[in-house]
Amino acid sequence: MKLCRYGPGGHEKPGIIDSNGKLRDLSLIIDEIGPGRLEPRKLRALAAAVKVEALPLVEGHPRFGVPFTGTGSYIGIGLNYSDHAKEADLPIPDEPIIFNKATTSICGPYDDIVQPKNSKMLDWECELAVVIGARAQYVSEDDALKYVAGYCIANDVSERGFQFQSTQWKKGKSHDSFGPLGPWLVTTDEIPDPQALEMWLDVNGERMQKGTTRTMIFPVKKLVSYVSEYLTLLPGDVIATGTPPGVGMGIKPAPVYLKPGDVVTLSISGLGEQRQKVVPFPGP
């Protein structure tokens, strides 16, 4: 299933994408796609119960929101692609590097990226996001995928000046609009192997990032298991699993950063596409 939420910010309705890629209204079946709906067992029951092609088509081109609500923790993983580590000339970490993104950064997949005040080093990171479906604490790697509701695309938008001002990265990861998620929450039945997905990101139509989840240092099941040792994962929590080579900060001979008017597009196979326009912070 490809689940989504569509409509103006704060007034989204649940939707589902049919086999032709068309958006259909799911609000007659469920009132919201939130933590209470994400348990894998409940998602399977929903998939069995819903006749997608019988649902009303949604007219026009509504905005897409975050595909689910109620994210308590948005965890990012630093430096998790071996080819990215090589590009950045950084040692491969012994263990996953965990940091938090503020949940207020979360936004729809096509919403504008608002460049913060005093930002000079606005950067992109195309990532596979794992969406937790069931409470997970000390789960084994073998069991880890049973706790996953599905996957979506994330752009882990980052301000490098803010990120590296202190030792702690959070400050450069958490502004409003730094967390586009979606367009869809794709349930695990459609992504049997999360380690075989192609991904790319363009800026103004030029290919900047290109990679595959095969080169992750720590795969999804390891990450879910590992993070669950350090905090209790709850339904709706998100783990963004790191980015492949090609971020602006690493471009040679000189870094390239985003500026107002730039358009970022990104995609992961099976998970759709995102598109964001960079805009200046409105107001003084």
Partner: protein, 282 residues
Amino acid sequence: MKLCRYGNAGSEKAGLVDHAGRLRDLSGIVPDIGPNTLAPETLAKLAATQPESLLLVEGNPRIGVPVNGISKYIAIGLNYSDHAREANMRVPPEPIIFMKAISCLCGPNDDTLQPRNSSQLDWEVELAVVIGRKGLYVSEDEALDYVAGYCLANDVSERAFQLQSSQWDKGKGCDTFGPLGPWLVTTDEITNPQNLDMWLDVNGERMQSGNTSTMIFGVKHLVSYCSRYMTLSPGDVIATGTPPGVGLHKKPHPVYLKPGDIVTLGIAGLGQQRQKIIAPAA
């Protein structure tokens, strides 16, 4: 006004502590203390309630997190000049922001569960600021207008987890690492957050002793600063750093918590907490 939530975890009710320190049932006025309760207008309405008109709560119920629905738990590293000196660390030029997982939040007297593989469990008494309204690019002058009140926090930390990588979050977000409360004390009772005595004992022995006057960055600055890097929402918490005396910096060698230890802590006007350390489940 001292607001609180009491009852079993997950089914707490709104409470108010009266002038004599007695717990009263506020649930007839507001069903719960959540982000929407913290707006200045709503707090003003609650402040108009006569505490004596509320029923006394019998017995000694558990006290929960004083605010339900907290969406961000921000914390500040190395924010006391005397603590920086003790740790032999440079005073940071700007506040260091990190985040605790909201799933770590718990009541002020709930047990601290030592995580599996934990060998360096530590304490940090801190003044926590609770945000009352949405704030982005808030000036220092206006910052306190965005604060609903204050509470006591123990920023429980696992130093080995915290310092294993460059990012501290891993040692800060385990379940029960975020005792908050017992009360949310509104700003009318804490007119100057930069002159509060604070202490923490382990098994009755004084470990931390300090005063918020030695903060490097005061509450006003921290609220303003955080709001430059993320939008603050009602109910968000900022723990403002800890004074000297954490276990990591004990001389001649560090001292860490072990199962059976009792941690008690307090800040002037904000009440006390007490946690017992429990061994990890096998």
